[in-house]
């Protein structure tokens, strides 16, 4: 199978269309199992009572906010290095989903902070760096929107995304580097989890579900971007009518 074939938007469009239902189904299934484990199998926390169950949506959302940023920056770097149009499109397609998960991580964090610390928000290193991540995502989306020329917008936002990646390790290690109110990592690569196995399992299944969701929605947004850019003159030398015919063919006559 020639994978390079799919780096062209025309070939990627129908492939993405075929893959989306599978990732969407996987996302629904995994989130269903994750919620069942989180609410009906995982025991009550002996310190925090039932409020800790927010972890099953808070930690996966926070992880996704960081994963997606790194992934987005990787595509941005690839786009700059290879002058690859499709890579920039991936950067564009990932950003809104990353912003959404960052917002959810902050919101669910506030919902957890209030009963646990007695405050919705504190200017602690973990919370502040995650808030900066949200501003980075929003800045990236606005930067792109503010530049009319697609190729310039692609390169500018790729540089912006790459520079901003420095914040991800800061978020991740913030609970180690500074004294924060935020609790330390519940799960780490080097130590055994500080939680019951069923809790960890529920959290990991929810994370996988969020991953599948992110892939499905990013592929769907890629398809939007492909159609939108097909109208741009920078698409290539083909006549617009031909693009339209291709897009129509790709979308199965929708």
């Amino acid at each position: 199978m020639n994978w390079f074939k799919y780096s062209s938007p025309q070939a990627f469009y129908p492939l993405a269309g075929k893959l989306i239902p599978w990732f969407a189904a996987a996302a629904l299934g995994l989130m269903g199992v994750g919620l069942y484990l989180g609410f009906f199998v995982a025991p009550t926390d002996f310190q925090q009572g039932e409020s800790y169950r927010i972890i099953f949506v808070h930690v996966p959302a926070a992880w996704m906010s960081m994963f997606l940023y790194v992934l987005m920056a990787l595509w941005a770097g690839l786009g700059l290095g290879l002058h690859a149009r499709a890579s920039f499109m991936m950067t564009q397609a990932i950003a809104p989903t990353g912003a959404l998960f960052t917002f959810l991580a902050l919101l669910t964090g506030a919902m957890w902070g209030k009963p646990t610390w007695g405050a919705w928000w504190v200017w602690d290193a973990r919370l502040t760096s995650e808030l900066i991540l949200l501003f980075q995502y929003i800045g990236l989306i606005l930067l792109r929107a503010s530049i009319d020329d697609v190729r310039r917008a692609d390169r500018a936002s790729a540089v912006f995304a790459l520079v901003g990646v420095v914040n991800v390790p800061i978020i991740y290690f913030s609970v180690k580097w500074w004294n924060t109110l935020h609790q330390g990592a519940s799960v780490s690569m080097t130590a055994s989890p500080k939680m019951a196995t069923t809790m960890v399992t529920a959290m990991l299944v929810m994370t996988l579900g969020f991953w599948m969701y992110s892939i499905a929605v990013t592929l769907a947004r890629m398809r939007c971007v492909i159609v939108e850019r097909a109208r741009q003159p920078s698409w290539g030398t083909q006549a617009p009518a031909q693009d339209v015919a291709e897009v129509r063919e790709c979308s199965g006559g929708v």
Binding site: F39, G49, S51, V244, V254
Partner: protein
């Protein structure tokens, strides 16, 4: 399972407001994003079609 009744389940040991706001907001955001992308795709296709038929 630790829930004696449905009421107990919704009460979440007194943390119902926080727990259900978290999960509700997440569900709302994900569904909202899916709908937004769906509409964006439909709008993009419609506009492309309009440009093509308008002879632009």
């Amino acid at each position: 399972m630790q829930w004696g009744s449905l009421t107990e389940f919704f009460a979440m040991g007194g943390y119902g407001l926080y727990v259900w706001t978290s999960f509700g907001a997440t569900a709302l955001c994900l569904v909202g994003e899916v709908l937004a992308v769906w509409r964006r795709h439909a709008a993009a296709l419609a506009q492309t079609r309009a440009v093509a038929s308008g002879g632009d």
